[in-house]
Symmetry: D2
Subunit: 341 residues, 4 copies
């Protein structure tokens, strides 16, 4: 069935699966110590423009957020996030499970603002009863956000500046990083992100891999005994090759960028299609997730032909739904979708 249900409906990019097959019977050491992992790390360092960055591979997004946030925070600290952030709402309390509060700030279009962060931090430098409060020890944001929106270079720089002023790390969740960087509206580069953030991850699961996220510490300041902490979280993959080979392939011949660009191109065509047919958008998104307001009867009719995601109730007769494109979306998929609108 035609599906725009999410950006992880297909397996891996064919080049990735081919490389897994080709290397399958090689004898390799475990836990990320094999040469494919090392090669992938080196390519990622180069792409980030950070020759000294530490790079680690983890399996999934929530796992990555949990491991990175809980190991970078002091035990008495919490992490600032937008109220609509993934860690705030859709990770089943994975951050709190590790003992840390998610300090939720109101955002704008899914984004934190430098002003709101600065105002919140200011509480902890004034006199008062902050000793009884959770200290904000980190800022979390995602690029793109849950709503597909993007931080501009100016916005991210402003937030990074607040973080530096208060000496707390800035962490960027890049589950869909490729789709953000390849958007026509984007003015940030991977090197910019590496320069502004203390930690971030390059998402593989949603961008061409079967699984896998590459965590980058550009300043070479991974948490102490990080491998042990990954193991302690149950997050250390025995056959690290599975992650190394996939990222090595994605970061060869610009594959990661090419397939991201393709997804964005498909998203633009999809937007155009909906716009032409007079559909209403819930929010303007410049990336691969598109949020539409559908009349309920139309929604049910459409659901017989194509898969998409329920997002939220709009009003008594309308619903917000999400259509996602990805590296695996084809021109034919878009054409077919058009025939049902």
């Amino acid at each position: 069935m035609l599906s725009f249900a999410s950006d992880y409906i297909a397996g891996a990019h064919p080049d990735v699966i081919r490389r897994l097959t080709e290397t399958n019977l090689e004898n390799l050491s475990g836990y990320g110590t094999d040469p494919y992992c090392e090669s992938a790390r080196q390519k990622i360092r180069e792409a980030c423009g950070c020759p000294d960055a530490e790079v680690y591979f983890l399996v999934g997004g929530t796992q990555t957020n949990q491991v990175v946030i809980s190991t970078m925070l002091a035990p008495y600290e919490g992490v600032i996030a937008a109220k609509t952030g993934h860690v705030s709402t859709h990770e089943a309390g994975a951050i709190e499970y590790t003992g840390h509060k998610v300090l939720e700030l109101d955002g704008v279009n899914g984004k934190l603002t430098a002003e709101a962060v600065a105002e919140y931090m200011k509480i902890f430098t004034a006199d008062g009863n902050q000793e009884h409060m959770v200290y904000p020890g980190m800022v979390y944001l995602s690029f793109p956000t849950e709503y597909g929106t993007l931080y501009s270079k100016a916005e991210l720089t402003a937030i990074a500046k607040v973080c530096r002023q208060y000496e707390i790390p800035l962490y960027l969740d890049g589950a869909r990083l490729g789709y953000g960087l390849m958007s026509a509206q984007n003015d940030l580069t991977l090197q910019d992100i590496a320069g502004l953030c203390d930690a971030f991850y390059i998402g593989g699961t949603k961008v061409g891999a079967l699984c896998g996220e590459a965590v980058v510490f550009p300043g070479n300041a991974a948490p102490k005994h990080f491998m042990t902490q990954i193991k302690q979280h149950g997050a250390l993959l025995a056959k690290g090759r599975l992650l190394g080979i996939q990222f090595d392939t994605l970061f060869s011949n610009d594959l990661y960028w090419k397939i991201s660009e393709h997804a964005i191109r498909m998203a633009e065509k999809l937007k155009e299609l909906f716009r032409e047919k007079g559909y209403a958008f819930f929010m303007e998104s410049p990336t691969n997730q598109q949020f539409l307001i559908l009349e309920n009867a139309k929604m049910q009719e459409l659901a017989e032909h194509v898969e998409f995601s329920f997002w939220e109730t709009y009003d008594d007769t309308h619903t917000v739904v999400r259509f996602a494109t990805s590296w695996s979306t084809t021109e034919e998929d878009i054409r077919l979708l058009g025939s049902f609108l």
Copy 2:
């Protein structure tokens, strides 16, 4: 290089990687809801002789132990394990990280005894100050153990009986389950294990898969909201297909059993080789891990030609090392090893 370093040096069994490739571009739903996961669950239920068993797929062994143990225990309970158990020593404190104590009992050849468990449980039914102690709420054991040894049917039945008497679950870590069940010394069947244990997992990572462990709750009594708890632990794989397709393949045409049997046959040949050449065994192991006592100079000489694992210092001039076979070990590997002994 010739390697007996571990049982996870190769990728996946060729049939597994082939199926991943063949299904790669199918659009499938996430988080284990796809038809391959369902088919794999059904085949595993049949193999276990438990038509109602609940089956879940997780990515790795420590993760599985962490998720299962922490969700089956009450918050004030700990888990009984052998002092040499994997959860006691080599999981970086993953169980304690979730707030639970591992109650370590002395074992015999890496195995818990029913007597020791019964004696320990008895403390908590007598009068005294048990209110200030961690209640033993579960028994953990692995089959085979860390030392490659096996519980006999009589031994496992005796432990299960103690667990039932005290109404605590018995959980079996089957990271190498295939290699245990296919051993010539083994008198247990998968159905026996399903009948005696409240939870267990069938290891994929070490037995033919790129990653993945299949958790089975034979009595259909998985912890409440188990999917949410898996997510909360950062352990929910977005593309569940990666696990479902692998286990579906492994449990088709007896593949899991055939490749396990092959590993055991290779282990027997390897044992014979060492025995013929007069090497001393540290412990008698009937499964795929063999522990040898090497004279240090010989060990270094051998290390130039073949990879194996350091296990522990034996005395000033000898070392205990481990040689592991697996589904990927070839007759040629064994022959070559012989040429270096």
Copy 3:
């Protein structure tokens, strides 16, 4: 110095300290098993109209919230609280430290509304992706609230009804319970609270004791192995007598109610004083905490003669401050305060 800084500036009510002295050299058993604890439990059961209630004594308020909430929730559940609730803001993340999320809802005058709770719960009965969200497993509220406001009988009943509909417990933080129940505006009784809540605590620290909070489970449904879980949290007092004797005294001869009523009488006089002198109130509070808006210069002048608490910045030239009365406030204190206004 004259002080309205908080409701815990004095030691214990003189009757309490006298009883501690009189019983001081008696040999008593520990951990709450002594006859004074039993007597206090019995008196509290009678005051609540719950002959079968389970009553436990803990040392402090945050400790009590932490122990009760973390032991009543399932591991995957969070607790609903007002955004301004004590557990949300001023307990240094004590709830999250135990692995549970505080699900913060917007309140009205510091109070949760039944509507908001019902609307939130409804999300978890609809279709959707709730499996990736923290399940709301309990409602927390305080009486009085952080702002000194009170739930009416109708309001508390409505919230209790929602809790019963969704089968989740209602927990009431009664750190200042006496000051709430003795307010002229209050229409709830202790028996009402015992009938509507699944757990609550009667605050001692702020109402006549040196320390101590009495946790009541009216339905006789304390968490399993509760003593062990208290110990596990580091919250079990060796000399339980210290808590038992205090609560036994407070619940003899209506002492708890008389001293609470006195504090309310003092609060009413204090309000009148401020009102007469033309001061502005930040919020109408019917209990022992009064929130005033002071012009900054006036605030500094007043601070030379009397202690009060900074609450929050109002605007560039005004500040919100809190004046608290308690059982230890005297008529002379009020008179003196008047002389400085």
Copy 4:
């Protein structure tokens, strides 16, 4: 009834309760910021010979162990303790509850040895798979131990030396510190302990106070944001005066030492009594806890007249029991006990 059941059967030393009464109606600030706390801290610093030491007051022993250990360890570290240590066996898993493993080493007479600690630490400096193990980040011991035994100055110095070699802190649980230091067999001073340990606590609950333990960081190196972390653990007492006044009294006029010495004198008389009457000792203890082997019939007879504690079963016809003296034991108690032997 005559009681040697524990060393916390009485209230507080009469001087302590008198001072609580005298200061009862003074208006004091909370959370340890009052002048009595400051005075007590100063007296403790002087007694320790550490003018810069940081001193904090907590309520109970398990709480103190939990707070100190969990805040001094890195998240991936565990604490070394004797298998019979209080944190290993009788704190209901309070350390594991905070996510840390107690690394249990076999002890001798309840004591850790420097050799065993050194041998264990050595594992983590050798090559191998320590990345998958819990790093030992602290040594815990108690003085006296659970069996009333004492570390000599040479023994404690040797352990401290190992800790310094591996740069991990040494923490001493002094729940019964006074009874240890006043023993005739002891050759350590409080200043020695302050010089050798990185953290320790002076027990109040068992030595003259209603409750309270004074934590000392001699090197002025308390964990960062320690007050907030205490609050986060639910361990911050609102009326800190309760702890400050008690310790201020105990450390005035050598009260703490005089009452400790008294308890030891009573213990010596009790030992003599049992020895004269031909009773067998389970273990030679130089402090206030005495362990006797009683014939079961005799034990039951004795229990009609005097309270003591069950310790463990010795054989089919004998039981190990504990008799504890304390500051509140009288000569008359000893005489009476003699009449029943």
